[in-house]
């Protein structure tokens, strides 16, 4: 069984032999990995110049769309890949952890450039010395900023990783005891992580009780103005 789950969908197609064959044999795992890796929706968190290089990667000269990644989503609910591109300050780290927490699993993180990976040249009181202080990172890209080639290289490596990814497992979830009768017969295709959940830096843990974020532009009553 374990051998079957290791099968890649490309191997399956080759194994089927004749091109006239209309039956495709595969596993759900291989099929889902194949569809996941070819439809990554990145959430670009462009914080400085790396964001510009990421835009260049998405534009026609380098054309990220060749890998099915052109649908940059600015809503974390719709994104699979958090691409942190640029200098992260501690103040912005709260935003980043919130974005990461809002993304639905399965999700991946790329740390793009020297600043996101290690703080870069900013060894300062305000700059996070590597985003992995807060969230787990799948790939780091070196460079200041990295060339689009490097970004594409890592995106392809990420596809390989998803293809052989063991961290997410497709499960047939059965309803919990006490569920409504109409759900009793139903099985749901879901996913779960192997092992214990990754210890995440939550906002409260790192920043204390702060209440809601203050808006930069505050409403002011007319009589308070000049």
């Amino acid at each position: 069984m374990s051998e079957v789950t290791q099968t890649r969908i490309s191997d399956t197609v080759e194994a089927s032999g004749s091109s006239e064959c209309s039956i495709l044999l595969s596993t759900v795992k291989a099929l889902s990995s194949w569809s996941r890796k070819n439809s990554m929706w990145p959430l670009p968190l462009g914080l400085s110049c790396c964001g510009i290089e990421f835009m260049a990667t998405a534009m026609s000269r380098y054309d990220m769309a060749r890998f099915g990644m052109e649908v940059a989503r600015f809503s974390p609910r719709q994104a699979d890949l958090l691409l942190v591109a640029g200098t992260l300050t501690y103040k912005m780290a709260q935003v980043m952890t919130r974005l990461y927490d809002q993304m639905a699993e399965p999700k991946w993180v790329i740390s793009m450039g020297a600043c996101a990976s290690s703080g870069g040249m900013y060894r300062s009181y305000s700059v996070v010395q590597g985003i992995d202080e807060f969230i787990p990172v799948d790939f780091y890209i070196s460079g200041c900023p990295p060339r689009p080639d490097s970004v594409l290289n890592v995106l392809m490596k990420l596809q390989d990783k998803i293809d052989r990814d063991e961290s997410y497992e497709l499960t047939l979830a059965t309803p919990k005891a006490g569920a409504p009768a109409e759900l009793a017969e139903q099985t749901v295709l879901g996913g779960r992580r192997h092992g214990p959940p990754v210890a995440l830096a939550t906002t409260d843990e790192h920043f204390g009780q702060q209440g809601p974020q203050r808006s930069m532009v505050r409403g002011r009553k007319p009589e308070e103005s000049r």
Partner: protein, 177 residues
């Protein structure tokens, strides 16, 4: 910290050349010490801004007199400098006001000790709001009467005042350094 120079300003009772009569007239009710920036001996209209040193209590009144009496309608800059060796008033708070019509500028300074406070200018210029929050955030100087004196750059629970000269260059990151 001892190597940090003290203020290089030389103050005199006489207003330097280039200060217009209307400014002198507007500031007549106040005790003012005058200076000219030693590195800019004057020349162009924007070089060698004259400056003056006033007391903390006079600080908002001087700006009000400049704005309403001498036509200094614009607050260009508003920040502070730290001279840690100077006692007891280690900070110089400064505001740069300008008259747009005559292109005059005047750098008004006042001194404040650590833990002290300076009256706010927000009732005169709305633009003083964020710059006073910035000065508070970076130096820990309080502005009396400010509508909402909170940190503007750093996270609200940040510990320390980064632009003070005794703030460490390294080692302040909480998790890794």
């Amino acid at each position: 910290m001892d190597q940090v120079p003290n203020s290089c300003m030389v103050y005199t009772a006489e207003a330097p050349a280039g200060v217009s009569e209307s400014v002198k007239q507007a500031l007549a009710p106040f005790t003012v010490q005058w200076s000219e920036h030693p590195e800019h001996g004057g020349g162009g209209k924007q070089a060698g801004w004259p400056g003056c040193l006033v007391s903390g209590a006079d600080w908002p009144k001087v700006f009000q007199a400049l704005r309403d009496g001498a036509g200094f309608e614009l607050l260009i800059d508003h920040t502070a400098v730290d001279y840690p060796a100077r006692t007891p008033e280690r900070f110089t708070v400064l505001g740069l006001a300008a008259n747009i019509e005559t292109q005059e500028r005047l750098m008004v300074r006042t001194r404040v000790a650590e833990g002290g406070s300076v009256p706010t200018l927000t009732h005169l210029w709305k633009s003083a709001d964020w710059s006073e929050r910035e000065t508070y955030d970076m130096f820990g100087i309080a502005f009396e009467g400010h509508p909402e004196l909170t940190r503007i750059y750093m996270p609200q629970d940040f510990d320390g005042w980064p632009l003070r000269r005794d703030f460490p260059m390294q080692g302040h990151n909480r998790f890794r350094d």
